[in-house]
């Protein structure tokens, strides 16, 4: 699966497309020759207009493992060149140019051996699989983290997993079907932070994520967690700074920024 040498431009056919949130769409694509992918990887989509103008954008993949189908959740950026087409106009049966799987850094694999990756993370001789995994996502930044959760569940992996997910309103939660499974997964805990509107009866007033919320929700630095943090650039840099302040080793924090808030 997944080596960089497997990356190529391929043809994908849309096999499913339905609304995921009021602004986002879930799109499942069957990609001819796709070699499978590791949780956390992304792909590039290239659209070409009849006049030859083309635009390429990266999207995280919410699925992982072998097989030729990739699961995407695309948030519509009102001024975007590519996402409005994918969210509003793309139809089942349409074909897209897909490049991937891409990226070997922001990835998680079950049963990771105590290899060089762990050393680079500052894990020393501790097996990577013995270290808890803290996922932190803002908005659509949860997409690659969902792939990690699915990979974790599919492998029946015993690594303690937590997800801290900051989202505007209950309607904006991506992959609520996947996240709702945590009741049956003792090794996964999900903490939701609503920033603008919470469900009725929610005990906490909606507010932006704070350092105190991060401190009380994530595995403490003393547990030496591996942290995967993905969201808008502002979200990622704010939370990463708090984590380092709270004693987390910067080498244990992997980040992926998707730019402006959507």
């Amino acid at each position: 699966m997944s080596g960089a040498s497997d990356t190529a431009w391929r043809v994908g056919t849309v096999v499913e497309a339905h609304p995921e949130t009021p602004s986002a769409r879930r799109i499942i694509i069957d990609v001819d020759g796709w070699p499978g992918n590791i949780a956390g990887q992304h792909l590039d989509v290239r659209l070409t207009a009849p006049d030859g103008y083309s635009a390429t954008r990266s999207y995280s993949i919410a699925s992982a493992g072998p097989g030729s189908r990739v699961d995407l959740a695309v948030d519509k950026l009102p001024d975007g060149e590519v996402s409005p087409f994918l969210v509003d106009d793309l139809m089942v049966g349409d074909m897209l140019e897909i490049h991937g799987p891409l990226g070997g850094w922001f990835v998680w694999e079950p049963d990771a051996a105590p290899d060089a990756a762990a050393e680079r993370d500052g894990g020393g001789s501790v097996a990577a699989s013995a270290r808890p995994v803290q996922l932190i996502g803002g908005g659509s930044g949860v997409v690659p983290l969902v792939a990690m959760i699915r990979s974790h569940v599919a492998a029946d992996d015993s690594t303690p997993f937590r997800l801290l997910y900051s989202v505007r309103t209950p309607d904006d939660v991506f992959f609520s079907d996947v996240l709702a499974d945590d009741g049956g997964m003792p090794a996964l805990r999900v903490d939701l932070i609503y920033t603008r509107r919470a469900p009725d009866g929610w005990p906490v007033t909606p507010a932006r994520i704070t350092r105190e919320v991060v401190e009380s929700s994530v595995f403490p630095a003393s547990d030496n967690p591996r942290v995967y943090l993905c969201g808008s650039t502002t979200f990622v840099e704010t939370v990463a700074e708090w984590l380092v302040d709270l004693g987390h080793d910067p080498r244990s924090i992997r980040t992926e920024r998707f730019g402006g808030t959507s």
């Binding site: 040498s5 990356t7 992304h42 590039d44 990226g103 070997g104 850094w105 808008s232």
Partner: protein, 84 residues
Amino acid sequence: MTHLDGNSLAGVLSELFRFDPTTASARCAGCGAIDVLARAMVWEGTPGTVVRCASCDNVLATIVESDDKLWLNFSGITAVEVRR
């Protein structure tokens, strides 16, 4: 303009390298910091992409693309470590 990070370089650079360059470690010519390219700061714009060191902001690399050509400047990187 909001910046991205080196993860976003995986697509364009995979056209050139046999390995995934975002997991390669690069040494900054400005400050000597060594880190994986995925952790660099990336600005995408016109005419191209600017990659900066996350430690000192030095320009590590620039990438300019047209339909049939690619221009790379890696002059801000003095060494690269690649896993074999």
